[in-house]
Symmetry: C3
């Protein structure tokens, strides 16, 4: 009887820890990429992880690292930038997870800061032997178009009527 | 002895799960409303839930759905919009909860993105048989006025000296 | 055997509660400081807490309170402001913790809202008898400079290759 309760508690506790671990990965991205920390940014991804974002299609950590080290990215952060992310909705299914959130790219101009881009992102995450990593990140500009809408609607389509609000479902 | 410990653990675990479930509801709102997902947005509310925000007073899910389907909202998202939310401070009391957070409404213009509005929101949430939902959401523009200030000060007034920082209080 | 499992569960549960408690402190700051709630803002800090931010070096709660009550801050919030914070990456080590996040200062102008500042913040937190508080908060403008970069890189430097993604590491 107690063993059954303990097994249930351990399952629920692991789910909570998983959700916080994934939030931690998402929260790590902005500061690392704004610092130009190419290696630490790339290590958020799986070795074979993918990153599709306006103008870039990266496959594997070397290509993520190359993006952070690119002249375009270095120029962007040299003036001062914030890859600013919103709260993420996360669904975990065993060793895989899905997260959706919006982001702003804020950039320092001569007379203040401008919002250069507003985007939506979908992350597919995978549990590896030493923790969660990003298997695929897809980002699209919020321009009213169909590609952005598909990412924004991720959880509306997955759960039917409504997102599950109970972690014990 | 072990039964007492287990009961305490289950109570604390449920509180943690509740807080994450509420964060998930808050994180769901932006992507769904920017996608124009009227039904999925409305389902974040209780059947008799309320939503008071500048210019709109909605009662029940049909009115939330009608807001998302309105020409004004459709025009807003057609150009590209982010209903971008900040981190939420949440207090849970049994089957009810209170959350406060700020938000930005970012909109695509011909030459970039503009912040059209900055607001503060207070959510009253209720646990229903299948999870947490919004019983009432109140939003006010951050214009230095008294209505915004009252929402911003929610937790300063509730807890006296300071917000409780310990989930085991 | 069960006692060992319970001790492990309690240790992991406490870590999860700690992380949520710290997120709650971070989420409290924006609404309180935008409301001008000087006392409640100051109480987020330890009695001997420090706050270093562009143009201000505060030592102790009285000086945090004085900043919130200053004419400069009152003028800022009178027009309407959002001290808008991004998601925080948190590392907890016993009774101490470290958090890093970015923020935007959004201000109401005659024709909309402007992003006046984008910054990065590092929080050192300490567990006190009644919960977590801020021991030191350091903020720097995201201007491409070395001081901002040092804060942004906090976790890249601490963890070597990559941030730990597993709360059970």
């Amino acid at each position: 009887m107690i063993e059954v309760e303990l097994a249930d508690i351990l399952r629920r506790l692991r789910r909570v820890e998983d959700e916080l671990a994934i939030l931690r990965i998402i929260a790590s991205y902005g500061p690392l990429v704004d610092a130009g920390e190419a290696q630490a940014t790339a290590e958020l991804w799986c070795a074979d992880g993918e990153y599709d974002v306006e103008g870039w299609r990266m496959r594997g950590r070397d290509q993520v690292r190359a993006m952070v080290e690119s002249p375009a990215h270095r120029t962007l952060i040299a003036a001062g930038s914030a890859h600013f992310q919103g709260p993420a909705r996360i669904d975990i299914d065993g060793d895989e997870a899905l997260a959706v959130f919006e982001s702003l790219l804020v950039h320092r101009e001569s007379d203040g800061y401008e919002v250069l881009r507003a985007s939506v992102h979908r992350l597919e995450l995978r549990r590896e032997s030493d923790g969660w990593r990003i298997a695929r990140r897809t980002g699209r500009l919020l321009d009213g178009g169909e590609q952005a809408r598909e990412l924004l609607s991720t959880f509306a389509r997955r759960s039917g009527d409504r997102p599950s609000a109970d972690p014990r479902d």
